[in-house]
Symmetry: D2
Subunit: 253 residues, 4 copies
């Protein structure tokens, strides 16, 4: 038998997570709340929902990123397949562009779970930064927001307001304070990394932290495709590449 606690139906009923879908979920449970519930099988509190939705908002769209360009170009080539355009965009959600959230969450968790609960976060952070040596610390630094990512203080603020700042955020904040002592320069805590710390503090599955970035991005990509329908630019992007192409001789290797 294949067991599931998610959706199920009989001729007369549909349940989701053990709830009557029509009566107890539809019209009552918001979409962010539902996504959290589906991932953890635990209904989040209003504060958890607010913090989780703040993360999703932080990650939804950043303009013409590679994933947005990819979705628009795929929609241009295959307008009959919205699912293909969305899937293609999500496939860019790997290690480099959308992976920071997961990398930061996992990194912080590996430290947190290897140590007993504590209060002296700065000491642990110092030890952690030193142990990394020349390896980059996930979530530290941003190529545009060099003086600080505006999403970062806002996430800390909301977590505080909701009483949900846990060990991952505490360690991440401490890394933000102590790393200049080791690295000799000050780097901002970026928003994507802070999102990873928040998601880990919320108890979401570490293996799927990237999945929440992808969920947020799905909403963003629908926005990109909607804008492409109103004000198309994909063909112009394609042509600007095409017109700047030079054919060269093969380089044997």
């Amino acid at each position: 038998m294949y067991e599931t606690a998610l959706g199920a139906s009989t001729p007369d009923t549909i349940t989701l997570l053990g709830q009557d879908l029509a009566r107890d979920v539809m019209g009552t449970v918001g979409f962010g709340e539902l996504a959290f519930w589906l991932a953890t099988q635990r209904r989040p509190s209003p504060g958890e929902t607010r913090l989780f939705e703040a993360v999703l908002a932080a990650l939804a769209d950043h303009g013409f990123t590679p994933t947005a360009i990819v979705s628009r170009l795929t929609f241009l080539s295959a307008p009959d397949s919205v699912q293909g355009a969305l899937a293609a965009g999500l496939l860019g959600g790997g290690s480099r562009f959308l992976g920071v959230t997961e990398d930061a969450g996992r990194f912080l968790n590996s430290v947190v779970s290897a140590h007993a609960p504590r209060e002296d976060w700065d000491a642990l952070a110092l030890e952690t930064v030193r142990a990394q040596g020349k390896t980059r610390i996930p979530g530290l630094g941003h190529h545009v927001h060099k003086n600080g990512d505006p999403r970062t203080p806002r996430l800390f603020e909301i977590a505080d307001e909701e009483g949900l700042a846990g060990p991952h955020l505490s360690l991440f904040a401490a890394i933000g304070r102590v790393h200049p002592q080791v690295l000799g320069k000050t780097l901002p805590l970026n928003g994507a990394g802070t999102c990873g710390a928040v998601l880990a503090d919320l108890g979401l599955p570490l293996e799927l932290l990237r999945g929440f970035a992808l969920l947020a991005r799905t909403a963003g990509l629908i926005g990109q495709l909607a804008e492409e329908l109103r004000n198309p630019v994909a063909n112009q992007i394609f042509l600007s590449v095409d017109m700047n192409t030079r054919s060269v001789a093969p380089v044997e290797e």
Copy 2:
């Protein structure tokens, strides 16, 4: 120049839809509300948000559908690529399984937009059903919920509560009333089709109605993968196929 009203950033600010992302969106705008806003570039009212999120809940997960099985099997094969597992699941969101929402929305809209505003929905519905001849009407009938899909009355109810039932829902309801006269049998209005009518009444772009089903399903697929991590079944599904395989001679064609 490539113009966008979605995400934008400078070294010190990040905006989304013309708003200050950190100050005015994060912690304030729910995820369903944001997805609606991204798709229309118009902030929805609380009632619109509630109705929209009810649609997303209705479509998020239906248990071991082909898309869920596909995501789980892909995660089994390539556990390092959550984006691949989600993308593979979404690729099943085509004409047959997740397409009803879009098909129903477009179909109803083609009728609504071809006629002047009216009150006699039953007459228009009768004409519409007759004109279809033997072609299936999208959104009519359900292979499991033969006596009625529980999501359908609930969507009508929420739309009424919020004062958002428009011409698409009105026509769809009328089709539900009159089709037995033409077809000689009574079929239920299914939930996926009703979702299409709701999304069309909410003014969401018709070309992307399938996209909202896919957004809902992304949350569902994350739930499926989270459950697969806790209680894996994908390998068992694979083995049950493998053990029931018979090798046969090629059939030339």
Copy 3:
């Protein structure tokens, strides 16, 4: 029981299409030949293989097409997932860019299969072109090769050399001769459409003609990714979009 005539194995043997894989396929059967065999479960003749491989060569790569740009950008974002970069590129293989091959093959087949075998192709072609009215004939016209697509005469030549020109190619050639009488202008038979005619004459499944274009393109996309590794341009493409972006106010709808 799930039956298959494709791959099967026991502890000591592996068969493919009823053949001993190691002894009778590896080292003996070329890759184009094998792809044909897998699709039809019939081993092609050397002439069929040559013609089929000419089609694959014709469709493998056209430089910086949207699919190539998409693969490169996805590889930039998620370099850990080659499968994601290839899959993203293939997802652009829809109705507009790679679909001509399938559309032409299906269109020609719909005419051929509706008529008794015949010799007067020009008469049937004239009737066909007239019946289309203002609807575009798939495979007719090319936005770059306005005076003729070099692939087209070559495919006819190879088909003739191998004695494999059948009704689809005959009808397509006739359409090339007669359409100016109806349309009042001369359009070239494009290479992608001719490929569709060839694949249909080879008896390959019409529902999957697009699949062969995608197989050819998979080889091309691997070439694109290999070139991206040696001489990266994806980041430059991304930056050229990014630097030409202008943030505008949302357009409510």
Copy 4:
């Protein structure tokens, strides 16, 4: 300027890899040969082509693997999108099922490139196996072909016939001879791993070895979809899961 040595066209010509596509590639260059050429920008010899195509044959299809099931289920759900069904299947080509080829090639290369050319492969192999400790050696062992994978000796044989067995195959063979001394048991060299050794000896880019497994699999998946059209089983697979599903209570975490 974006440079490419792959496809290029002017109104009157199409070139591919610096060749006149119609005259010098179509009808002359086989598909496996072309795929090799695209990936390396170097035309392979007939022997290299034969060995490369033997690898592609070895990896094309293994019956109802997860990737095959995924493609068939996606085709069932979205029959209008062949590209989606193929892409979904390829997305399973990650670390676990199709990754062995790449892992073995990279592993062998990391050893070969760290040592001066040599003849005493057994000594290097012994050192290598010892250094791995408890970490699995990619390409060693097979869950079905416990007494030997029939593809392995065939690949060595073809490589020898063509004079193309290089350091990767030599080291892999030596690992096959010496590992029992260290591990205390004899494991077969599997076919997928041997393919990785062959591809590395052929000089194909290590970062893309998985890509060649995916190219082979694309042909296999088209075969699977063609068989699904003739003799459908996807719905039966779906129903067998659906009928064996049990709804359980959520497990909070």
